[in-house]
């Protein structure tokens, strides 16, 4: 993508800025849509209607909320640490946003074509922990601090099953690069990794249960990484007011919310790339059928966003189904259940791919 723009404009600065702005606009538009979707989905699951009066079925509600948020007073507690307080939301949002650099939206629209994309994403998502700790400490509020500590413990512990499953997939596909992983899963859904991968043979069918286990472990642990129910102790709405972002108002709170939704899409995207074929369509391309070659990248963007949105919908669905886990239950799930299953899975996938 950068190459295309550079050839087009001949200027390094302009093409860099445009390439950086594209995922930002995608995130902003998606966040608008996702917040509206969350309110409507949660409302209908609870047999009520959700926002109905602002625009058709309330789709302008997010914009109204944004306007309200921007004009709010920016309060900082008197005893709070001003520098840390101001930088924390920026760090949290940067950690989420930087992960978009390595995610391929289609075969033509990639932020940066680096060979170690997966490794980079797992590493840069840890920047969020630093931001959260800063937010909790700088608020000068013991409940925020508690929330931040729990959040740090949760994110760091759930990095381990994520890394183990990523390791499994890297071992199976042989490459770190997300583009190559997407390309390996051809545009026919029986070749996707969740159904055993592109090579036909006895290993394909043997792998299916292990792939399903790996996908669910990864889904659960990335759910915990983005602090989403049932793992939302850090922002537990009824327990710690709002956890580590209690003291934030106005635009800074908006940054935290935006970061949460951006993170949700980023981890859904990674799960869909690893297991569900990334930007590949399940039935082959219309462009191939009608021989219009330039249509293919657009179709790919459509399928990619559709898969991301379906996984985001499943995350929202889980939020309104399950009660919140207690902090010790959260840790038990991670260390006593997810990690052993992930390790056993790794061993079995390793043995099978040797066959």
């Amino acid at each position: 993508m950068y190459q295309l723009l550079y050839n087009f404009t001949g200027d390094v600065i302009i093409s860099t800025i445009v390439v950086a702005l594209i995922p930002l606009t995608i995130i902003l538009i998606y966040a608008l849509f996702a917040i509206w979707l969350e309110r409507k989905v949660s409302a209908h699951m609870q047999d009520r209607l959700g926002p109905m009066r602002t625009g058709w079925h309330g789709w302008l509600q997010t914009i109204a909320d944004m306007i309200k948020m921007i004009q709010k007073e920016d309060t900082i507690a008197a005893e709070a640490d001003k520098k840390l307080f101001n930088i924390a939301p920026v760090l949290v949002f940067t950690g989420s946003f930087a992960a978009y650099a390595a995610i391929p939206f289609s075969s033509a629209l990639i932020g940066s074509e680096i060979e170690v994309g997966l490794f980079y994403i797992v590493a840069i998502s840890s920047l969020v922990v630093v931001g959260i700790l800063m937010a909790g400490w700088a608020s000068n509020n013991k409940y925020s601090l508690l929330g931040a500590m729990r959040s740090a413990a949760q994110i760091v512990s759930y990095e381990i099953p994520t890394a183990l499953v990523v390791l499994t997939m890297v071992m199976y596909t042989g490459t770190f690069s997300l583009t190559k992983i997407s390309e390996m899963q051809t545009p026919y859904f029986w070749n996707w990794n969740i159904l055993g991968g592109p090579e036909f043979g006895i290993t394909k069918f043997l792998l299916i249960p292990f792939m399903i286990v790996a996908a669910s472990i990864m889904f659960i642990s990335t759910l915990a990484e983005v602090n989403r129910t049932p793992f939302d102790i850090p922002e537990a709405e009824s327990e710690l007011v709002a956890g580590y972002f209690t003291e934030y108002s106005g635009m800074k709170w908006g940054m935290f919310m935006l970061a949460e939704y951006a993170n949700m899409l980023a981890v859904s995207a990674v799960v869909s790339i690893l297991f569900f074929g990334g930007y590949q369509s399940p039935f082959g391309y219309l462009g191939n059928l009608l021989n219009i070659k330039w249509l293919i990248p657009f179709e790919q963007i459509f399928w990619f966003l559709l898969k991301g949105l379906i996984l985001v919908f499943v995350q929202m669905w889980l939020r309104w189904t399950l009660p919140r886990l207690r902090v010790d239950q959260l840790m038990t799930v991670c260390w006593k259940y997810l990690i052993p299953y992930a390790v056993v899975n790794l061993i079995f996938v390793g043995i099978i791919s040797l066959l």
């Binding site: 989905v41 409302a43 209908h44 699951m45 609870q46 047999d47 009520r48 209607l49 109905m52 669905w317 889980l318 309104w320 189904t321 399950l322 259940y337 299953y341």
Partner: protein, 177 residues
Amino acid sequence: MKEYLKNTWQAIYTVLVGMKITFKHLFTPAVTIQYPDVKVPLPERVRNRLYVNIDDCIGCDQCSRACPVSCIDIETVKALPGEDLGVTSNGKKKALWVTKFTIDFAKCCYCQLCVFPCPTDCIFMTNVYEFSEYDRRNLIYNFSNLTEEEAAEKKANYEKFLAEKEAQKAAASKTKE
């Protein structure tokens, strides 16, 4: 070990059962009523804002005395013997000018205790519930149909009548001596 596997199975199974229920609820119709466009039908004998039919009021003060929060304020002036105020709808002849009949709906507790003692059934509850105001003073409803000047005039007439009677009595006792 068996406990461990049982735990895992139970966790997965219960989560899936829960998700199925929530998904089913996604398609049940909502129970919300979109208020300003659609209103809930009220029962027949619901107790909301009071109404006074002042043509039937005989000024007996029973409703004001029955009110537990003293929100009804009535002042009456006795009519002169020659004046004709008309009859109420059930045939009673009215003998008092009702110069002030205010109900303060900020105080009213909508208990319906004022409706029962009324001998002519002129005060009753309607089903009007959307009458909020920005200023509390706008909630003091005035039901009397005499203007300020008329009320003052009636009072003045009565005072004059009383004064005349006093003067007559004084004159009569004086001539007696």
